[in-house]
Subunit: 241 residues, 2 copies
DNA sequence: GCGGCTCTATGGTTGGACCACAAGATGATG
DNA sequence: CATCATCTTGTGGTCCAACCATAGAGCCGC
């Protein structure tokens, strides 16, 4: 077993055993190295891995922001790993769109009316309603709106995956604007659909909300000139390669 | 920007630009360090991160297994990160079960009859049919069977997530055996349900297959004494904490 | 030919040194 | 006494030089 893996294993056991918890600090790198009898270099390699997995966050100096703090950001590994794997073209964009539709339609169907995420969604909805908003800003809020919706179901795993997909999705929704015949008309339609989805959730019509979401997403791709998410994915791969 | 991030960025650009591809080797650590004007230590930290994300695989010595090979195993980051985040109890097991049902029911509904994964699934099915199989071995094959099914839809992202969930799921399906009143009876039922699912896919009855999968998974939890996956998750957290 | 040897290049590991940073302790100064 | 500058301490960030372990490549003696 490699030296840095010893450290990883130790950290995992400390966490699983409750001796380390979120919000606490890891011992100093030099202290861990001494305790586990490995070099500080190896400790640092392990911490880099933990950092990439969103388990810790390091800060220099002293004070509240210093030291290696144990966090728990499950989205970090998904986001960064997905971006890299996308670059290899072994993860087709079409798969991402397809997955998005699946996760999001499920999430709105199982949204909990008591979730505070719905309030955030409403705020985003209103932010999108301002008249002279730029297309970039609109799509940004759009993405956040969809993530907020998917959080309302209360499944951390699914909302996390949606949050990670959001970044990947953001890259090409913007590209697709140029394919639209009339952005302001599209924006108006998107606004109306967003409100429709939101209202369906609020009035406890889960299956309707789900259908509207699917239609909303697929409609956007259709209007941008793709007859299906599969083709959209293929086209995007063409253009970015 | 930290030194190791420079390396990560460089690797990402090399891959995105097609100058590095899967199957090729990264330059030697010392060479990268010299080229990017960072220390070898920083290069190694970056490689550790890439390794954790399933992007590379390092080997010492010389020959075909030596050097740092660019792979593309999207399941690696999901699996390891999920295990760690599970340990923090910020990722409830119930969420995992719920996600599994969602992904798997979608996958069988969209399974492609031409997929070779279906042949693998059949082989696994037959392996599970041998009379004197142990419960452990049966559940192992069971897990592989479900992963094979989810691969048949051809969505890399979804099958990858299922593969990662499989590890987490495996931990507690085994635990649940003790809750079963009659294992051999349950095994017989599972076999029959597996064949039912497989046949539904083969006979191009996607919605039936999907329903059977949901019933199959939820039925297992019910028989083990949980009335819903949510309760199962809660119970598992109790027992492992 | 063939077995064993050295050579070489790879990643793996280590200890030590130094830097940048930020808070807290200290002390000079008005 | 209050205030501000300075020093101290402890943190992560970086780098270097050396050494080890591995495993193929090539050479040499037989």
């Amino acid at each position: 077993m490699k030296a840095h893996q010893i450290v990883l294993q130790w950290v995992e056991r400390e966490i699983a055993g409750g001796r380390l918890e979120i919000g606490q600090r890891l011992p100093a790198e030099r202290a861990i190295a001494q305790q586990l009898e490995v070099s500080r270099t190896s400790v640092r390699e392990a911490i880099r891995v933990l950092e990439a997995m969103g388990m810790v966050r390091s800060g220099v100096g002293s004070g509240p922001d210093a030291g290696t703090l144990i966090t728990a950001d499950p989205s970090a590994p998904f986001t960064s790993a997905m971006r890299l794997h996308l670059a290899t073209s072994h993860l087709p964009a079409a798969d991402i769109v397809q997955t998005r539709v699946l996760l999001e339609s499920w999430a709105v169907e199982h949204a909990k009316l008591s979730s505070p995420s719905l309030d955030s969604a409403l705020a985003l909805l209103e932010a999108m309603d301002v008249p002279d908003i730029s297309a970039e800003r609109f799509l940004e809020l759009d993405a956040e709106f969809h993530v907020a919706l998917s959080q309302a179901a209360g499944n951390i795993l699914i909302s996390t995956m949606m949050g990670s997909l959001r970044d990947s999705i953001g890259h090409y929704t913007l590209d697709m604007i140029s394919n639209l015949p009339d952005w302001s008309a599209t924006a108006a339609r998107l606004r109306s659909e967003h409100h429709g989805i939101y209202d369906a959730i609020r009035t406890a019509s889960p299956s309707l909300a789900s259908e509207l979401v699917v239609a909303h997403i697929e409609g956007y791709y259709r209007e941008a000139g793709f007859s299906s998410p599969e083709q959209a994915g293929a086209e995007i791969i063409e253009r970015t390669s």
